[in-house]
């Protein structure tokens, strides 16, 4: 078998070890104590004839019901970049949260989807969110204009008023960066932060080229030495 098995096994083991090393901090971080919930949990709001459910697993540090509003502190699901505080209320309807996530990519924002059962009203407040963003609301994938089915209060609470029973409602919050007309601004950052990616790429390319040149040099030297040894035999 001409394949260099040892090299293959070392490489495979290295990849596996590397993956475990990468994953270990995540495993540890997620092992922090908190109250877990899953789709079987019900958060009833008897005074408002409403109920809140989650169709996903997650944790929270604290949950309380006040004035018909369930408040979850440090809510964490697998799709949240960091824990969020979620206040949620359902009047004359059942709300099942199917997705709650945040993102910080070209644009920054959050995304919350839920199913509504019953013709009622729902309110939501997510915090903390980066300021200066815009909300988009869809009912079953159709975009709904503000005040045509939902309203936004100054404190950031979204009240959905006209979601049909059985509909899938999505609340999306986007903060556009400066170049896209938003608030992101990197002009005040130090040079190395503004250009961190190209610096990292430059370092990676330099190391790669240097290593490749070194390997080529050593390889050619070894070849020459071998040729000399063979010629002496």
């Amino acid at each position: 078998m001409p394949i260099n098995k040892k090299t293959v096994f070392i490489n495979v083991a290295s990849i596996a070890a590397f993956a475990l090393i990468i994953l270990f901090p995540i495993l540890v971080a997620q092992a922090e104590s908190s109250t877990a919930f899953d789709p079987t949990y019900n958060f009833a709001i008897p005074a408002l004839n409403g109920e809140v459910n989650f169709a996903l697993n997650g944790t929270y540090a604290q949950a309380s019901l006040e004035n018909g509003i369930w408040s979850f502190v440090n809510l964490q699901t697998s799709n949240l970049l960091r824990p969020l505080n979620l206040s949620i209320s359902a009047i004359d309807c059942n709300v099942t949260v199917t997705s709650c996530r945040t993102f910080n990519i070209t644009i920054v924002g959050a995304f919350l989807s839920f199913l509504v059962e019953g013709q009622g009203n729902q309110t939501f407040r997510l915090s903390p969110l980066q300021r200066g963003g815009d909300w988009t609301v869809t009912f079953n994938g159709s975009f709904i204009g503000e005040n045509e089915g939902w309203t936004l209060s100054p404190n950031g609470t979204i009240a959905v008023t006209k979601a049909p029973s059985g509909s899938n409602v999505t609340l999306a919050y986007f903060v556009f960066p400066d170049a896209l007309g938003g608030n992101g601004n990197n002009s005040n950052l130090p040079f190395y932060q503004r250009h961190s990616v190209i610096i990292a790429t430059g370092v990676a390319v330099t190391i790669t080229v240097a290593a490749a040149v070194a390997v080529t040099f050593v390889s050619k030297r070894n070849q020459r030495n071998r040729a000399v040894r063979e010629s002496l035999r």
Binding site: I26, Q30, N104, I105, T106, A172, N186, V197, V209
Partner: protein
């Protein structure tokens, strides 16, 4: 609790399955002329799963497309691990389409075009805080390509590219039908190899023309002045940006597969054709759909037909098989002329009809058309006539798989 995290669990399972799979194939595969091919197929499938991994992690309860908004791709492993640093994905020399690959990795051709037009002046690609300089973003893409090409060269094409796997599947279908492959003449094959550089040049020049206003303040094509409601979309920008992607066969293939798997709404693909290039729904044009069909039919007859003209393969070759990169490339196909009996098996089994390993006199015979699939090395019946070298070390050598009895002269 920890193990309930689907991303972490999936990653662990993935790594374990790939490691065990490689081990089992190397250990159990008895057919000496198929062992590496089997391993390659397994790694191709594993690579496709890795590239598209975001699609199998979910959640999938969101509409795929929101205006400038998040999609399932934002929940990918790549997004989870790289965070905001690589939202447009790490540039890779494989046809990993931007959306389906969930930005974990992204086709470098897309990035090269997109960062010229329409994102020359926009903080697109590497987080909100990333520089808005188009040149800087392009330098990062080219830098990544150079580094990866020096290390692995066109190994990416042979072992990791999803469309390469599609080409190989077509070949297997042809074999299953008992049909023999067709071959291009050497002249045609050479011309196809040169065509990919023309394709690269055409689409980059087109991108620069579209971006003329952003780059130089001169609008060469009406409707290419950036503006619009979100600051990037106006006129032709929305339909003609990234021109190669409008004809690339991989894009509709990704969309169709996603629809088939239920990750994308069929309504986006099945809308009535409209607009320039008859853009049909989201992500498909009549042109790239037609090209996909043509390439698929040709792939049933010719092995790896697309790979011969693939501009991305051409870029990878540019940075690994041409001077000065060739001198320092780490993955090479080496020939030992003294062990070669000129039987011609190597050039017959080469899926892209490369003949350098047959014709050249020895030494480094890696040429731009070679995808480093190792098939010639696997099939060469002469011990150590061909070998794959990585960083100066032999990782795979040809051997006498015919097992002819040894004779003492």
């Amino acid at each position: 609790m920890t193990w309930e995290n689907p991303v972490v669990l999936t990653m662990l399972v993935y790594v374990a399955v790939v490691a065990v799979g490689i081990f089992l194939i190397l250990k159990l595969s008895k057919n000496k002329t198929r062992k590496i091919s089997t391993l390659r197929l397994f790694i191709q499938v594993a690579a496709v799963v890795a590239v598209f991994m975001g699609l199998v992690i979910g959640p999938f309860d969101q509409p795929l497309w929101m205006p400038l908004g998040p999609a399932p791709r934002d929940n990918l492993v790549g997004g989870q691990f790289f965070g905001s640093q690589f939202p447009d994905g790490l540039s890779v020399p494989i046809l990993a389409c931007y959306y389906p690959s969930g930005r974990t990795v992204t086709c470098a051709i897309w990035q090269l075009q997109a960062y010229i037009f329409p994102f020359w002046n926009y903080s697109r690609g590497y987080s909100v805080l990333y520089s808005t300089s188009g040149l800087e973003k392009i330098a990062i893409v080219v830098g990544s390509l150079v580094a990866m090409s020096i290390v692995l060269g066109r190994f990416f094409c042979g072992w990791l590219c999803p469309f390469g796997l599609y080409m190989d599947v077509m070949t297997r279908i042809r074999k299953a039908l008992g049909k023999r492959h067709l071959s291009f003449s050497e002249k045609t094959n050479t011309a196809l190899g040169q065509l990919r550089y023309i394709i690269i040049a055409v689409f980059l020049i087109l991108s620069v023309i579209f971006a003329s206003y952003a780059i130089a303040g001169i609008q060469l094509i009406p409707g290419t002045r950036p503006g619009g409601p979100q600051g990037t979309e106006a006129g032709l920008v929305g339909t003609l940006n990234e021109p190669f992607c409008l004809v690339c066969p991989v894009r509709p293939l990704c969309v169709l597969i996603e629809c088939g798997l239920g990750f994308m709404k069929w309504s986006y693909v099945s809308q009535i054709a409209y607009g320039p290039l008859y853009i049909s729904g989201f992500y498909v044009t009549s042109l790239n759909l037609a090209i996909l069909i043509v390439v698929t039919v040709l792939a049933l007859a010719y092995r790896r037909v697309w790979c011969r003209i693939c501009p991305l393969g051409g870029l990878t070759a540019l940075f690994s098989t041409f001077t000065p990169f060739k001198q320092v490339a780490l993955t090479k196909l080496q020939k030992n002329e003294s062990n070669c009996t000129k039987c011609g098996v190597c050039k017959r089994v080469c899926p892209t009809q490369v003949t350098a390993m047959y014709e050249q006199k020895g030494g480094d015979v890696t040429v731009s058309g070679c995808m480093l699939c190792f098939r010639c090395v696997e099939m060469c019946p002469e011990k150590e006539a061909l070998r794959i070298e990585f960083a100066g070390k032999s990782v795979f050598k040809s051997r006498n798989w015919l097992d002819t009895p040894k004779t003492n002269d």
